[in-house]
Amino acid sequence: MRVFSFFILFLISANAFSADAFTRNYAIQTSMTSYTEQVKPVGFWLSSFSSEKKPMYFTNASGMSIMANPTSAVSAYDSTSTRYGMSNFYALQNDHQRLVGHINGFSKGELFSIGYDSGINTQKLNVNNAVYAGYTKTMSFTESSLTAISFGSWFGGRTSESPCIDSYDRQYSCRTLTAWGDYKPSYPKPLAFIDLRHVWIFD
């Protein structure tokens, strides 16, 4: 058996919305390749890594948009009222880093995936850090086909916001400057998934 040990690093761009999609597709393709090439790579490698300091959109561990990064806001109650700068409230106090890595399992076509998202820490928006765990396995039930099953989930990554407070201690949603009591945001949660891929082989 040939043994490979390698380390691959993919730096993905700021298109964070595809982060989970990339990871899921990568895991299945890698698992299938490992299975068909009769190889059993060892070692740990990263398939994705990103680091953002001033994102246009704040995203969760799955790369789903939580909100745009606002630079200013005027109250929805009165568009002629004071426009407030928001940059300081949403300045990242840490780089938002996200990485996913893989290690082969004990049998061919078996892949374990782990990941980490550092979360977001600003004055008004916080996303807790999150870890990712995934497993992918490729099998062959016929000579001319492959079947891969992959599942994974992010754990953690809770999103929370804090209100902006005016000189009279009134609480507002920073994004719309409307009463905090009326603000009912819905945040996307990092995904958990199961993928099944079946491939017919034509030689």
Partner: protein, 475 residues
């Protein structure tokens, strides 16, 4: 060996077995798929002609759809008929949704009327005043009850009420109607059952009505200051519904549209200031009367059925003598007391509700802020016209014979604003609420802009939308 080496295989089936979306973002597409629907965005639905029922149009003349009768009961016990099946009213959001009309920013025309669908959205917590009359003709569609008195329209020409200002409408449509807040109107109610415009005893009903036109969700109470024996025996608190006696345990806003009748009061903008001697003597003669109200409002004196007046915003009509507001001796007494002054708003009258494109001017009869800074610093202006036109409304069957106006009707406008602001931000104290209204009063809606005199207009025109927006620095 690189992992991407499946070129010789033809992928003919690619699908996720299960995609467990734990959150609101939704899932992606096939194996490894993703979607930009994760982006959170808001947009206004676009209304197209196809969204209307077949017999509705934005331009032609059509037959309105039939709407079944619907009555809503609100938290303060009041009820309102939103639709009576006659199709003579605008329609509630539920009805519009049922008709697949999703964008309220349109007008719908029938054979007889144009319905402004914004106007048709019911307020969520109030007695649905917005639904009582469509904007096209401002005709009241149903009676309104104040302290057990029915306010209705004339049978022949129909009642006309002026549509509230845009920011008030916006607040209503968002459900901010002063719901849960109690407004006390100290006024004349002794002869409310027999009041007519002719005998002048409807003043309390009218000020209550004007609060309702700005804070329809607030509960209104009336304290009759004209009862025999003076206010000390005036324990009858008249609820806004049914005229029954009630208990007002937590007054948030108190409106005073009255004053001591000093000798120089003419109540018609005569503008003749008293001499210093007369003024001094007048203050002395009014002292007992004025101190009684100050003591009630600062907690030194209490009435049964009333509580927490010490944390109520105080709106005080400036007076109708076209004089410096200091010549209203009740205003002077209230501003000279630390407890009441910190919560006080002295309200002068404008000739209309000002906008940046149609600016308002202080009414000729209205007292102005004056040179006393402790008064001018707490002085704002608001529309002094009652929200109905001549001949539009009847009380006890008595039709109004002239458009009523005065600072008596400007002060309840601001009282209504205060109730809405306090509903929206329940942490506010009375002092903070009144200070917010002062801080956010604007002059760009006044004809005097950009050089408005604080001795005339004080802080400017009270603005509900500005008062709801943040003030000062954000943290």
């Amino acid at each position: 060996m690189m992992p991407f080496k499946l070129a010789k295989y033809l992928v003919v089936f690619l699908a996720p077995l299960v995609l467990i979306a734990c959150g609101g973002g939704g899932g992606g597409g096939g194996g490894g798929g993703s979607s930009a629907t994760y982006l959170m965005s808001t947009s206004t639905p676009t209304l197209t002609a196809a969204n209307y029922p077949g017999n509705w149009t934005t331009t032609g003349t059509v037959t309105p759809p039939s709407v079944s009768s619907k009555t809503e009961t609100y938290s303060d016990g009041s009820t309102v008929i939103l639709e009576d099946g006659s199709s003579s009213k605008p329609f509630s959001q539920t009805t519009l949704s049922g008709l697949s009309i999703t964008d309220p920013s349109k007008y719908v025309t029938s054979t007889t009327a144009t319905y402004n669908l914004i106007w048709g959205i019911p307020d969520k917590n109030g007695p649905g005043v917005a639904n009582l009359f469509p904007s096209a003709n401002t005709h009241l569609s149903s009676n309104l009850g104040y302290a057990g008195i029915s306010v209705a329209g004339q049978a022949v020409i129909g009642p006309t009420l002026v549509q509230p200002s845009a920011d008030v409408l916006a607040a209503w449509n968002a459900g901010w109607t002063g719901n849960g807040k109690n407004v006390l109107l100290i006024d004349t109610y002794a002869n409310k059952a027999g009041c007519t415009f002719a005998n002048g005893n409807c003043h309390g009903i009218m000020t209550m009505m004007n609060v309702d036109m700005n804070a329809p969700g607030a509960v209104k109470f009336g304290l009759d200051f004209t009862q025999s024996g003076g206010f000390a025996t005036a324990t009858a608190i008249k609820g806004s519904d049914g005229g029954n006696l009630g208990t007002a345990t937590n007054i948030n806003v108190t409106n005073l549209s009255f004053t001591y009748n000093n000798s120089w009061n003419c109540n018609n903008g005569c503008g003749t200031a008293p001499s210093d001697v007369t003024y001094t003597a007048g203050i002395a003669s009014a002292a007992q009367f004025n101190s009684a109200w100050v003591n009630l409002l600062n907690g030194s004196y209490s009435l049964s059925n009333l509580s927490n007046l010490t944390n109520s915003v105080i709106t005080k009509a400036a007076g109708n003598n076209a004089l410096d507001s200091k010549y209203d001796t009740l205003t002077l007494a209230l501003i000279n007391n630390a407890s009441t002054a910190s919560r006080m708003l002295v309200v002068g009258a404008l000739d209309k509700t000002g906008t940046t494109s149609s600016k308002a001017t202080i009414a000729t009869y209205s007292n102005y802020a004056g040179a006393t800074t402790v008064i001018s610093d707490r002085f704002v202006v608001a529309n002094g016209n009652m929200p109905f036109s001549t001949g539009g409304v009847s009380i006890n069957g008595s039709n109004i014979t002239s458009a009523e106006q005065g600072t008596s009707f400007a002060a309840p406008v601001v009282a209504g604003y205060a109730a809405v602001v306090m509903q929206k931000f329940p942490n506010l104290t009375a002092a903070s609420t009144s200070n917010i209204i002062l801080d956010t009063a604007r002059t760009d809606t006044l004809s005097c802009t950009p050089s408005c005199s604080s001795a005339i207009y004080g802080k400017g025109e009270a603005s509900l939308s500005r008062a709801l927006a943040p003030v000062g620095r954000l943290r």
